[in-house]
């Protein structure tokens, strides 16, 4: 028998898929376009060449680290649990396969494309070498740190997937677990170091985290490292921890395959008590019956397992960390970077949970056959979509309100810090209004695109990734590409002039508008082709771009009818 037969099979399959090659080419292209602007900034005299090189290295490394950690966890989190839900993994264990065969096979099949894409993007880091400020040693270290980060997050995702059965729990645990290890622990370590006034972060917080090696690689060129351990120690520790995750997953998986009795009692005591109280309330009951009568899908979204966004644990952990940070660093806490970080974490978490629920609901309906049955009833397509969106809005209402309240609180704190009413107050109020408006637009877009991708993509993890790519990543790519074009045309001088700042501000304000294209497409396809999407058919046309280009040139050759007649007349059997 071959060594790791599932892994071998998956690698053979991957080698035959066009997407494997396309993804790495696209990644290399995107990273190159991003680098062009920095190159012009460096050689155009806007920044000194060394600082342009360091900035390019920093930007590319941070973007790659975020992608690697998020992608690795999201891709692997549901790969084993979905097999458990469908009951197929038990059949695999009837053969000679062992737990490690399946874990290795799934790990390779899920992360090979990401690893290839990362390898394709890494040479762009070497552009920083030409600009200066970064050495070859730094680039090698960063390469190791990023590859280790991907392996770590994917291994953690495998462990979570081996332990969990439910999709929502697996995805949330994996993503937030990795983010906590890579983001929360270093921040806590930094807070503790400030509190104890040691000047260095304790190794306990960083040595087992992929962030330890990453921060070491990033800090390489800077004097006065705040770490008590070396890069190699951090890399080896986190790498060993990742192997431990994989070993644990291989060990746990065969034990969790056995079917367990499903208990009827779901949720904890407090949740059950709350549901009971709500059910007994006369006013609320009449309110619910109104909604239920208008659309039965809202009732489905109100079941105990489906209710709410389940983001309260994440919010509680975040609030506790925020409070701990404030308690540890009282004088230095209320600063602009902390405000910005808080807003980014809160808005990002909310968008993630909304995307998760938007993608998961239709996917579950499709998988369980509920959608097919519903579409054969007189309810119709529109009722399904209306019900699904209303249900999502009801789930999101309180979390959105809470996040907006937190934003308002930050605005008040900023104004309080500013003292007497001044122009700074206006800045805080404007920032609050713009950010709140952007959040609401983004959430609306994420909801529709999530439902659309939930039906279209193969699984929920992939649907979430595509939703985030369409709504958030693509518009930043357009932004960066436009700035790189301007930089290339003006040889970097645009970044020195005030007109450059105005252009950047205008583009930043209009960023959410770029995502509206996908909102339109999602609404259009869902309203028109819901039945086709429900069957799991793909509506995308392969090679559409080439066909369009060809059609453009066909226009000069006359109408198609004439061409067909001409071809028929010329044809001799």
């Amino acid at each position: 028998m071959n060594l790791l037969p599932v892994a071998e099979r998956e690698l053979r399959l991957l080698a035959r898929r066009p997407r494997t090659y396309l993804s790495r080419v696209l990644t290399a292209l995107i990273v190159t376009v991003t680098s062009v602007g920095m190159l012009y900034a460096g050689f155009g005299g806007v920044l000194s060449a060394a600082s342009a090189g360091q900035t390019l290295f920093l930007v590319l490394s941070c973007a790659a680290a975020a992608c690697v950690l998020f992608d690795g966890a999201l891709l692997t989190a549901d790969c084993l649990s979905s097999e458990k839900r469908e009951g197929t993994i038990g059949l695999l264990f009837l053969t000679d396969l062992k737990g490690y065969d399946l874990v290795a096979g799934k790990l390779i099949s899920q992360t090979a494309n990401q690893a290839y894409a990362l390898l394709a993007a890494l040479p762009a880091l070497a552009i920083a070498l030409f600009l200066g400020g970064v050495t070859g040693h730094d680039i090698v270290r960063m390469t190791q740190a990023l590859l280790n980060g991907l392996f770590f997050s994917a291994s953690f995702g495998m462990l979570v997937s081996a332990c969990c059965r439910e999709e929502r729990r697996a995805l949330t645990l994996a993503v937030f677990g990795v983010l906590a290890m890579a983001g929360l622990l270093p921040v806590l370590g930094w807070g503790v170091s400030l509190w104890l006034e040691t000047g260095t972060i304790h190794p306990l917080f960083l040595i087992g985290s992929p962030a330890g090696a990453f921060l070491q690689a990033l800090q390489a060129g800077l004097p006065g490292s705040p770490f008590d351990f070396s890069f190699a120690e951090s890399l080896v520790c986190s790498h060993l921890l990742a192997w431990c995750f994989l070993g644990a997953a291989s060990f746990i998986l065969p034990a969790t395959v056995r079917e367990q009795a499903v208990t009827r009692r779901s949720g904890n005591w407090a949740a059950r008590r709350w549901h009971g109280l709500v059910r007994s309330g006369a006013g609320l009951t009449s309110h619910r019956s109104y909604w239920t009568e208008s659309n039965p899908l809202i009732r489905a979204g109100d079941r105990p397992g489906q209710r709410g966004l389940s983001m309260w644990p994440a919010l509680v952990i975040f609030a506790a960390s925020w409070a701990a940070g404030w308690a540890l660093t009282r004088g230095q806490w209320f600063t602009l970077p902390v405000y910005a970080g808080t807003v980014i974490v809160l808005h990002g978490s909310l968008c993630y949970f909304v995307a998760l629920h938007a993608c998961r609901g239709p996917r579950d309906d499709q998988r369980s056959g509920v959608l097919e049955i519903l579409l054969t009833t007189p309810l119709g397509d529109d009722a399904y979509l209306t019900g699904r969106m209303l249900s999502l809005k009801r789930q999101c209402f309180w979390p959105v309100l809470l996040v907006l309240a937190a934003d308002f609180g930050l605005m008040v704190a900023g104004c309080w810090d500013a003292g007497v009413p001044s122009w700074e107050w206006l800045g805080w109020i404007a920032a609050f209004v713009v950010l709140a408006a952007r959040l609401l637009v983004d959430l609306y877009t994420v909801s529709w695109v999530g439902v659309w991708q939930g039906l279209k993509a193969g699984d929920t993890g992939r649907a979430i990734r595509k939703t985030f790519f369409y709504v958030f990543v693509k518009r930043w790519l357009v932004f960066v590409a436009f700035m790189a074009l301007l930089g290339a045309l003006t040889q970097g001088r645009v970044f020195q002039a005030p007109v450059g700042a105005i252009l950047v501000a205008v583009q930043f304000a209009f960023l959410p508008v770029m995502s509206l294209q996908y909102l339109c497409q999602a609404m259009s396809e869902l309203h028109d082709d819901l039945r086709v999407l429900a069957l799991g058919y793909s509506l995308s046309e392969g090679g559409e771009g080439w066909l369009r280009l060809r059609r453009c040139f066909n226009w000069f050759r006359g109408p198609p009818q004439a061409r067909s007649r001409q071809a028929l007349s010329q044809w001799q059997p």
């Binding site: 301007l486 645009v494 007109v499 209009f510 995502s515 226009w555 059997p573």
Partner: protein, 158 residues
């Protein structure tokens, strides 16, 4: 020589089309096209209007070939680059109006030349949607090009 593909137009076979879907899409194309008239902000809507038109054309098999707008705009940009030193912004505007007029006329002609086998009650709205979408995309492109040229002129007046 390989046998040419015989299309449905030559055979003349009737085609079953969900007319409710066609009309809804035509109305949506009109709506997206009108919103797409707003420069820059409406570019996504305009793109979706054209996308809807393409898919409707495939459903109805009306043999509609869109005019080569991209080619005209590329030629227009080249003309703008050449004539900018003589005519300035007025020349840019004149070229934009000329290309918009040309593409509208060609669009109208291409709609006249299509061979509609199934009558689409929303055909007029579809045409107006496509026209607006092309106009919106053209104006957006013109604004971006003029902006870039102006920035270049400000930064390098020589």
């Amino acid at each position: 020589m390989t046998k040419p593909q015989v299309t449905n137009e030559l055979i003349g076979s009737p085609r079953s089309v969900d007319m409710v879907r066609v009309i809804r899409r035509s109305m949506r194309c009109f709506l997206f096209g009108v919103v797409g008239l707003v420069p820059l902000i409406g570019a996504g809507f305009a793109y979706q209007a054209l996308r809807l038109r393409r898919s409707l054309s495939a459903d109805l098999e009306d043999g509609w070939t869109p005019p080569p707008v991209i080619v005209f705009w590329l030629m227009g940009i080249a003309a703008m680059l050449v004539a900018r030193s003589w005519l300035g912004l007025a020349g840019d505007l004149a070229i934009c109006v000329a290309i918009l007029g040309l593409q509208s006329w060609l669009c109208w002609r291409s709609f006249q030349n299509r061979h509609e086998k199934v009558w689409n009650p929303g055909g007029r709205q579809l045409f107006l949607g496509v026209l607006s979408a092309y106009a919106g995309l053209g104006v957006s492109l013109w604004i971006v090009v003029v902006l870039v040229l102006q920035v270049l002129q400000v930064l390098d007046p020589v």
